[in-house]
């Protein structure tokens, strides 16, 4: 079926004649004379053979080659043998000779050859793919340009490739480069005489003394000194403000000794003059021996030293991961440039820091598992120790080789290659230092997490015992490849990944029934074909009412096709445990935040949990978590929305409110003092509680503050202000914060509309007269008591109603008088005539009486 398989597979089946990137170095083949393998190697060969029979991932040539490997006596012998073979002073000079022995030597690594060669042959197609990808993902432009530039280098002479610096492993993603580069550019402006920043009145951090060797992709390193113990060698990592960090892990590891990991001495916000704002500083012990990969790439270092270092990395790495697992932590930043020699003698190795960025954020795709590699950088998730074991395996694989086997490959190319074969074949090239490490690397790079080596297997390997081979489940492949995105896909998984990056085309395929047809005819999976058809039918029914029906259909189909893949919606991808960090990164980049909100509102995680196979209990809790997030998004007021999701999902994420963003506030206890200090700089005509602050307070406060938030979201501005005051008072009470003169002054200045809630002008005047006194006391609760006294308010209401009634009565009386005393009014005329008549009668009676009495 070579004519119908993917191009990658075509390449693999075409043989090994054309290998442009094969290096001059002699491959440490499992030959008995040159490089006797360890017992582990023999076992590895057996395992590989067994696996080959099972899943047909290895070619027959590879199997034969592996069978030819003989059992070595000891690892030391293997190391020496390899060293003998490769211990050349000038590799360029040795290149022809090594070329001569290359063909027999390469037999041991035919699988790797095939994969590399297939990747090379696929390059033109991948170039086209890159053009498409450029349109879809501008952020990866730099990466792809780098890849394009690297392509000719691979085709050039091997000697030229050797002369290039060895750090060709693309350890930076495009976005990381953007953030870190910007950070670096600004930081470089600090002169050496810049006074140090101080943390906890103990640690001095020198902005003018950068340590670029110790930089992390998301944090810059500077010299640090401990005033109490000046003899300690320390350095400080200054984190990028706004970038989510791993707060929970930070709290867990501070001040404790984690074997195999850099010791975190202290952390905290410092006034960082370079950025003119507060930044989080992490104080670590300084590794004195430099990067491990520098030693391993140094052509002047003897091979045995490199192999010793490799063994040391493996042993220390396993110990480091165990110590992390004991604390239920994950590292998620294990990669070649994040492993250091702790001492000058290169006898102790440690993993570098993993706090300064989201889990997996700084990891190149090669060091991430297939599933997490598919996700956006920020959305790779915390994962488990299995992901760390994979990363350690990938790191060891890179250390093991003289050349980078995935050099120049884009993210998509690398992932498709991993999925088409497996990670081991893709990451382990043919020019390896020693074969002793192949067995654990193969175990650690197993793409099936259930079958991946754990600590039991690693311990067995360390103790020199044989590890039972694992059975890999056969991958369902189509006899009829499906061509999409310039690839011929035989697996639903690769097709789903390609479709996720080309959503419009993918949707057409789904709607015209191509996917359903492929499932029923190509994969002969009628159950999936029915599921796809049912999903399309449901989406068609909802199309008129739901504008996102098509996107939801596509997300559902993609999850159906690859249940292990990240949640995908529109152009975002995140693991179920990576939503918060993905959102945080997107907020920092001011990117596509709306899509993240839409994915939650449209319950895409629910679709993922519905389809994917996971533990029921964890599904329930995680689904409940996403349901809670959806509830937040469905409320529009302050304290809810996407901001609430941001702070609920990222523990310790600094508040992004423009009012205090420069202060990098991560804990709720610092909010009020920071706002208090910000009063001098802020526009005090605006409320001190904006959406970010309300969400931050709501997420970080224990207990419910729903009533305050509800009032904060009132349509009436007056009640918003009152709600803001109540929220701040609640916070002040809970945090036992002292006097807040600035904040009380700020809030007091905004209370005009609240004072006007009282109808009585005299009451208003009394309150206004009292406000300055309370402002001077700095007590927000007293201010609230003055402004919102229930007794005063009730009295005001009753008196107001009475006054209203009195006014109406007066008005009616005035109207009545005006009506009855006007010129020509009937009543007035009648009254006056009555008066005249009565007067006449009285006069008559008077006169007649006089006459009678006189008479």
């Amino acid at each position: 079926m070579a004519d119908t398989s993917t191009e990658l597979e075509l390449g693999a089946e075409d043989g090994a004649e054309d290998r442009p990137d094969i290096g001059p170095e002699s491959t440490p083949e499992p030959d008995s004379e040159q490089s006797p393998a360890t017992p582990g190697d023999t076992e590895a060969a057996v395992d590989l053979e067994a696996d080959t029979e099972d899943d047909a991932l290895l070619t027959p040539e590879e199997s034969e080659n592996l069978e030819s490997a003989e059992t070595p006596d000891s690892p030391e012998e293997a190391d020496v043998a390899v060293d003998d073979g490769d211990a050349s002073d000038d590799e360029t000079e040795n290149a022809p000779a090594e070329d001569d022995i290359e063909e027999p030597a390469d037999e041991a690594a035919l699988a790797e050859d095939d994969v590399e060669k297939s990747a090379d042959e696929a390059a033109p197609v991948e170039d086209e793919l890159e053009e498409t990808a450029e349109e879809a993902e501008p952020a990866e432009d730099e990466l792809e340009e780098t890849a394009e530039e690297a392509e000719p280098a691979e085709d050039a002479e091997v000697i030229e490739a050797e002369e290039e610096p060895e750090d060709d492993i693309e350890l930076e993603d495009a976005a990381e480069v953007t953030e870190a580069q910007k950070w670096e550019d600004e930081a470089e402006a600090a002169p050496d005489t810049t006074p140090p920043a101080t943390l906890e009145n103990r640690y001095d951090i020198y902005p003018g003394r950068p340590l670029p060797d110790l930089d992390s992709p998301s944090a810059r390193a500077f010299e640090a000194e401990d005033r109490m113990q000046p003899q300690l060698k320390l350095f400080a990592l200054i984190c990028i403000p706004g970038l989510p960090i791993r707060w929970d892990e930070l709290l867990d590891i501070e001040g404790i000794d984690l074997p195999g990991n850099l010791a975190l001495a202290a952390y905290g916000n410092i006034d960082w003059q370079i950025q003119n704002q507060k930044c989080l500083a992490l104080i670590y012990e300084r590794p004195l021996g430099g990067h491990v990969d520098i030693l391993l790439k140094d052509p002047h270092e003897p091979e045995y030293k490199k192999i010793d270092a490799l063994r040391l990395v493996a042993e220390t790495g396993i110990r480091a991961l165990k110590s992390l697992q004991e604390r239920e932590l994950t590292h998620r930043s294990i990669r070649p440039d994040n492993i250091f020699f702790l001492d000058d003698d290169h006898e102790e190795v440690v993993f570098g820091e993993f706090i300064s960025s989201p889990p997996g954020f700084d990891q190149p795709v090669a060091f991430e598992t297939i599933e997490r590699g598919m996700a956006d950088e920020g959305g790779r998730g915390i994962g488990s120790i299995a992901e760390d074991i994979y990363a350690l395996g990938a790191t060891l694989a890179f250390f093991l080789q003289r050349q980078n086997p995935v050099r120049g490959k884009s993210k998509e190319q690398l992932l498709l290659a991993k999925m088409s074969t497996n990670s081991y074949q893709i990451l382990v090239g043919k020019t390896i230092l020693t074969a002793t490490m192949l067995e654990p690397i193969r175990g650690m790079l197993n793409d099936d997490q259930g079958e991946r080596w754990g600590f039991d297997e690693l311990d067995m390997w360390l103790s020199g015992r044989r590890v039972a081979p694992t059975q890999t489940a056969p991958v369902q492949k189509s006899q009829r490849p499906f061509r999409f995105g310039d690839f011929d896909h035989t697996q639903p998984r690769t097709l789903a990944y390609s479709m996720s990056d080309r959503r419009e085309s993918a949707l057409k395929l789904i709607k015209d029934g191509s996917i359903e047809q492929w499932y029923s005819r190509g994969l002969e999976n009628s159950e999936m074909a029915t599921a796809v058809a049912a999903a399309v039918e449901t989406a068609d029914a909802l199309a008129e009412t739901d504008p996102n029906a098509d996107e939801l259909l596509l997300s559902r189909i993609l999850i159906l096709m690859d249940p292990k893949a990240p949640i995908t919606f529109k152009n975002i991808k995140y693991m179920t445990d990576g939503f918060g960090y993905a959102l945080g990164v997107e907020v920092l980049r001011e990117g596509n935040i709306k899509t993240y909100a839409e994915s939650i509102v449209n319950q895409v995680p629910g679709i993922w949990y519905e389809i994917s196979d996971g533990a029921a209990a964890s599904q329930f809790s995680e689904l409940e978590f996403y349901t809670r997030l959806r509830g937040y998004l469905q409320k529009a007021g302050p304290g809810y929305g996407i901001e609430r999701c941001l702070y609920e999902t990222i523990p310790g994420h600094a508040c992004r409110s423009p009012l205090i963003a420069m202060q990098n506030v991560s804990v709720i206890e610092e909010i009020l003092p920071t706002l208090d200090a910000a009063e001098k700089m802020a526009d005090t005509k605006k409320s001190p509680v904006d959406r970010h602050l309300a969400a931050f307070i709501a997420a970080r406060t224990e207990g419910s503050i729903e009533s305050q938030l509800g009032q904060l979201g009132d349509l009436d501005e007056t009640f918003q202000i009152l709600g803001m005051l109540r929220l701040l008072v609640e916070l002040q009470d809970r945090m036992n914060t002292g006097t807040l003169l600035g904040l009380t002054k700020w809030v007091g200045g905004l209370m005009g509309p609240v004072i006007k809630l009282y109808h009585s002008r005299s009451t208003r005047r009394d309150i206004e007269a009292d406000v300055p006194r309370i402002v001077r006391s700095g007590d927000l609760s007293e201010l609230l008591g003055l402004l919102d006294d229930p007794v005063t308010r009730k009295k005001d209401e009753l008196e107001y109603l009475a006054a209203l009634e009195e006014f109406e009565e007066a008005e009616e009386e005035v109207l009545g008088i005006e009506e009855n005393t006007g010129p020509g009014s009937e009543a007035a005329l009648r009254t006056s005539n009555q008066v005249a008549a009565v007067t006449s009668i009285l006069i008559m009676i008077f006169i007649i009486s006089l006459i009678i009495m006189a008479g």
Partner: protein
């Protein structure tokens, strides 16, 4: 089922007219007796009270205030002549003698004229007095309203139903009843009612 027309109102309409006719008949009877019994007094009163009779005829008001005014004064003017008749020869000749006495006639008719003057003069004066009192009362009420507005603000002025309802108290309740009378402009409070003419 259609109601049958009833004639219940017919007897009631007949009864008052019968009573009125009976009352008129009684008056005529009594007048006849008086004329027959006291012809001299009747002659004197008839001629002396002619102005009152005229006022009664020309006064179209229901309460006949002008008749009261003129009649009261006219009676006052006739009363001395009537006493003279009753005190002297109470006969028709004496009655004609009094009637023909110009002085007595002048007294009778001048008194009636005075009564008319009272009817002309008193109402405007009373009107004026009433206006002054009302103006004072209005001034008092307006002053009180101004005090209320000063204390409670413009919102105390009742708004029309379609403009009210937006205001809330602290508990969010509507303060202005929607049934409040139409609003008076606050400027109206300073207006003083026009003085009576």
């Amino acid at each position: 089922m259609a109601k049958k027309p009833t004639n219940e109102k017919a007897p009631r309409q007949v009864a008052p007219s019968k009573a009125r006719s009976m009352q008129s008949l009684l008056w005529v009877f009594m007048l006849a007796i008086v004329i027959i019994a006291f012809p001299e007094s009747v002659i004197l009163l008839f001629l002396g009270l002619l102005p009152t009779l005229v006022a009664l005829i020309i006064d179209k008001s229901p309460r006949k205030y002008s008749t009261f005014c003129v009649g009261s004064m006219n009676i006052t003017g006739v009363f001395p002549a009537l006493l003279e008749l009753w005190a002297g020869n109470n006969n028709i000749a004496h009655a004609f003698e009094i009637i023909t006495n110009v002085f007595d006639l002048i007294v009778m008719y001048a008194a009636a004229t005075f009564g008319w003057l009272l009817y002309m003069a008193i109402p405007p004066v009373v009107n004026g007095l009433l206006a002054v009192v009302a103006q004072h009362r209005i001034a008092q009420l307006r002053a009180r309203q101004r005090e209320l507005i000063k204390e409670w603000g413009d919102e105390i002025i009742p708004r029309p139903a379609d403009q009210s309802g937006g205001e809330k108290n602290g508990a969010g309740q509507a303060l202005n009843p929607s049934s409040a009378p139409p609003a008076s402009n606050i400027e109206e409070l300073d207006e003083i009612p026009p003085a009576p003419s």
